[in-house]
Subunit: 204 residues, 2 copies
DNA sequence: TTCATTATGATACGAACGTATCAGATACGG
DNA sequence: CCGTATCTGATACGTTCGTATCATAATGAA
């Protein structure tokens, strides 16, 4: 047997190059040659592992989804570990929402790539499919947290958890887009989020 | 003097072709030749009026902004005219928010084009400038309406108009994106909007 | 060592695209 | 009718890009 290589790992390495280029110069600027150079491999190898550019983009999106979910769950468990014992639902929810804002360069890049993929998926059914395979939407998670908060009497009044979660999640996405564009500042956005958390949970 | 032509009108006509192509096939698929064919003019004329493709895209965005503002104000005045006398702030606000949802093919196309431009503007400062020239952001308008509603005792409780407007507007944008992707249905989105309007204005 | 797997290099083909150029047609006000 | 503004047509150049091809090197388990 010859040299054994983790093909999946290779593909992830090349997919990461796609993310970097897409974040820095837009998804339109992603081409096979630049991806190869960014990944530090030959053009031939990119062809070898992905066959076509379309395949490359689709798989890069799948890997991005995977990483995003992993990081989100890791962040939540980290928050739970920081405050041993009883962590208030409000604090956890706040961290979950922050996860979808460009709070640092890494989150900023991820969001830029996601939005680029989103727009392209509007005209590419195959990419759209890669988007919509999210079996557990974020809205359900947030709605579940709100229901849980209601049962533990953390909420200030009776609410419709689904409706609240829908606007909260969609709102955070929209606010994140404004942040990317420089139309808002992070302080202001966090102020808005905290205002609405206070509206739900009462004064902290 | 020879034939007199409204240059600005010609440019708008060609810009409309850009919108149609961008809505149907994405902004990446917009090229000078297809724009000319869609507008029913020669490639040479597109070059004649816009010089470069970059100019074409920037001006097409400016015209799109203009049309959007005109249609929004027209919609508001139409609502005010429909209910002579006292039109509740809630009803007007609901129509304003609906204006940013893909409620029909026309709004759907406009939203698709806007989002495509948004993503491209993240890597194109000149396009970003065309975006950010909005002297009167929608959030200010909504916040003003909420303040006005408070003064006329239409609100159910004391609120922070700015914070409420920020989440409402951002939320509608985010919900509109979900609609485009088919992740939500219009009925559900309107239900969410009405829920939050009720939260602010009380039962209708 | 052997040999299949992994990887590179060089190159080429065809298509799409932005841009430029030149000639000429059309139409309308004076 | 004349002249100018408006518009078309054909064409071409250079670049970029996806994809394909062929030869060849490096690697490491059997």
């Amino acid at each position: 047997m010859p040299k054994r290589v983790d093909h999946d790992e290779r593909r992830r390495q090349i997919a990461a190059a796609v993310w970097r280029i897409a974040a820095d110069h837009g998804l339109d600027s992603v081409n096979m040659r630049d991806v190869a150079a960014e990944a530090g491999v030959s053009l031939r190898l990119v062809q070898y592992y992905f066959e076509t550019k379309h395949n490359l983009l689709v798989l890069a999106l799948r890997y991005l989804n995977e990483r995003g979910e992993q990081r989100a769950t890791a962040r939540i468990t980290a928050v739970l570990a920081e405050t041993p014992g009883a962590t208030s639902t409000r604090v956890v929810l706040r961290e979950v929402l922050k996860e979808f804002l460009p709070i640092d360069d890494e989150h900023r890049d991820t969001l830029r790539v996601y939005l680029a993929y989103y727009v392209r998926s509007l005209n590419d059914p195959e990419l759209a499919a890669a988007f919509l395979t999210d079996e557990t939407p974020l809205e359900d998670l947030v709605a579940g947290m709100l229901d849980q908060a209601h049962e533990s009497h953390e909420l200030v009044c009776r609410i419709d958890a689904k409706r609240e979660a829908d606007l909260l999640v969609s709102g955070v996405n929209g606010l994140g887009m404004d942040l990317l564009q420089g139309r808002r500042q992070l302080d202001d956005v966090m102020g808005t989020i905290d205002y609405h958390l206070t509206r739900l949970f009462g004064e902290p």
